[in-house]
Amino acid sequence: MLLARSEIGRAKLRFGLLAGAVGLLVFLILFFQVLLGSLITSFIGAIREQSAPVLVYGEDARQNVAGSIITPPQVEAIAAVDGVAASAPLGEATFTMVADGEQVDASIFGFQPGGPGEPTNVVAGRLPAAPGEALASRESAQEGFGLGDTVSTASGGAELVIVGQTANSLYSAAPTLWTDFDTYGELRRAVNPDAAAVLPSLVAVQPADGVDASTLADRITAEVEGVEALTRDDAAARAPGVAEVNTSFFLVLGLTFVVVTLVVGFFFLILTVQKQDALVLLRAVGASPGYLIGNLFTQIAVVMGLGLLVAYGLLALFVSGSDAGLPLTVSVGTVLATSVAVVVLAALGASVAIVRVVREDPATVVSRQSLGGLA
């Protein structure tokens, strides 16, 4: 496709501008997706990275861990439901911690060691084995929650020694600690000496062998008064804010895809209209529509290829330079899927230009003054 290449060579600026614009837009799309993924992980990572396949919430908490409590009779009733192999309390609350001499908000989970609801993604150290030991999110190591550090609540109570680290297990985008339920209860009482009781926020349930998690969740919801049981995936997807964040991000993504299609489509349309006379002449001297379309596609491929390279470059720069305190992870699958989608949409956008190329009637050459024909 000599023609396509030499045209690009002669008009580096306009093709460069387009490739740059495409690159920016694709970067935007990729960046949104990375941000979305990490935002959601930092809100509900802790729910995904714990061992219980079923989590039981108080019914009126509306899938919000922070708003949920399970009363002692409910705890007993859940344990007695047919198909429950093991159940354990899981407490969660936000505390003002003192780490590195500074006050920091942190989310603390109280779980039963050895029971369901244990953190699963331990990347350094070990699980807490004794009261006063805790696991901390690796993402928060810089804030004074590193391995071996000792932290305490601003209200006193037990000191926590960090004996291990988790990854992608944040909750509420704050430093997240895991300790045994009794230590958790002691910390709650230190914050509020008037506490009547420290109840679990959730009950973590391990289904018996052969019992399906979602069937068991439905059964618990039906049989135990005032609770709502969810599978781990449902609990993560239906946590407050997650659905809203997803919807608004997808809307933004959709609009950005439309803009990519428009920009590419209208660029090639203008280019085709500008070259109309030349294209007619080429057709008249024997160039097939296929050849002209081939040229067009070569140019689209070059522009999109360059645009994608720009986008990958920007993304790499951004991810390495970002210090948003979020666990940014780029998935190769997402990048590939986005790239393919963008290229397909660009080709679609250019289809108007293709139609124009095909519709050129070589015979019009004889009736166009600009091409030497008769008026």
Partner: protein, 366 residues
């Protein structure tokens, strides 16, 4: 200039593509802005209703309403500080409420308060509440008895108030004893004794400096409290700053895209017209005049697309069922978006300036 306007009027379709792109970007900008404002207003109503200038939290709470506790003794110390005209107790409980004849419970924020503040009247009788009007979307009407929390404490709605929500949960404003009862039954680990509140809304005496009074309060309580102005308390509501920064990043990038779209379109248009502009210059037009016409066109298109986009968003907002999305489009948001778009459209057109000035009038005769 006249030529530029004439072309826009005679051949509007020539600008349809760039107009459509800018229209879409406007829709995106306003949607994001409206969502951000809606989230902000829905999260901060309780604090923005405060007539008081200062809020006193316990020092170990990191100015979180939920975690703070101020007991009777501390309150007396605060009230005794010179410059404090009034210190009213304020407390909050985030509780699910069952609505009669509805299957879905409503997320509510039960606000215990002592005196009328902002647009909220004095507390209603025990066991009753002023409800934020957003609860209508959950099927609540005046006279309904809601069942609060796991213990299903009854609470009767006796009237509506506006803009009294917290963290996106609908406000139910009640007297302190009712709030304390609901807090104790729904969150036993957060229950507070008689007289203890989570925070104090401190009204500063006429003529006193709020900053100095805040410092005096914290000194008087021996560091047990942390007193901040209402603005600062709003900023420390979880998620408020993060939301704003995330949305503003997206809004910024959207503006960047709008600039690129304008730049690209007019750069192409200028490229196409190099010969024409050569002729213009040959008959005496200056670069300034030609660039002014490019700029006029880009600003007119941006403004027209913006108006159409705004109309579209306003219409679409009518279609959103109340309570589904916290979307709220404020006039200030519309104006600031328009101003920003016009600025990026101007910047985008500047890309063509170099080409326009480089055109040689002599090229007109080949």
């Amino acid at each position: 200039m006249r030529l530029a306007v004439l072309e826009l009027r005679r051949k509007p379709l020539r600008f349809a593509v760039v107009g459509t792109a800018l229209w879409l970007l406007t829709v995106l900008l306003l949607f994001l802005g409206g969502l951000l404002d809606g989230l902000y207003l829905g999260s901060t109503g309780v604090l923005r209703q405060q007539d008081a200038q200062l809020l006193t939290f316990s020092s170990d709470s990191r100015t979180s309403l939920i975690r703070s506790r101020i007991d009777v003794e501390t309150r007396q110390q605060v009230e005794a500080v010179p410059g404090v005209a009034d210190a009213d107790g304020l407390g909050l409980a985030l509780v699910g409420a069952r609505v009669p004849d509805e299957t879905e419970p409503a997320n509510t924020a039960v606000v215990g308060y002592e005196t009328a503040t902002g647009s909220v009247p004095d507390p209603p009788a025990a066991g009753t509440a002023w409800a934020d009007r957003s609860l209508e979307a959950n099927g609540v009407s005046v006279g309904d008895v809601l069942e609060m929390g796991p213990q299903q404490v009854p609470l009767e709605v006796v009237g509506w108030i506006e803009d009294g929500n917290y963290l996106g949960q609908s406000g139910l404003w009640v007297d302190p004893a009712t709030w304390r009862g609901i807090l104790a039954s729904s969150r036993p680990d957060s229950s507070l004794p008689e007289g203890t509140f989570q925070t104090l809304a401190v009204t500063v005496a006429d003529g006193a400096d709020p900053d100095e009074v805040a410092a005096a309060i914290d000194a008087a309580t021996g560091g047990l409290t942390r007193t901040v102005d209402v603005e600062a308390a709003i900023g420390s509501i979880p998620g408020i700053d993060e939301q704003a920064s995330t949305f503003n990043q997206i809004i910024g990038t959207t503006l960047l895209v709008a600039g690129v779209v304008v730049a690209l379109f007019f750069a192409l248009l200028t490229l196409e017209r190099t010969r024409l502009y050569g002729v213009f210059k040959a008959i005496g037009a200056s670069s300034r005049q030609i660039f002014a016409s490019v700029l006029t066109q880009s600003l007119v298109i941006t403004a027209v697309s913006f108006v159409l986009g705004t109309l579209f968003v306003e219409l679409a907002a009518l279609g959103i069922p109340p309570g589904a999305v916290p979307f709220q489009l404020e006039p200030a948001r519309i104006l600031s978006s328009l101003a920003l778009l016009l600025v990026v459209a101007t910047l985008g057109s500047v890309i063509s300036l170099r080409r326009v000035t480089r055109i040689d009038p002599a090229s007109a005769i080949g």
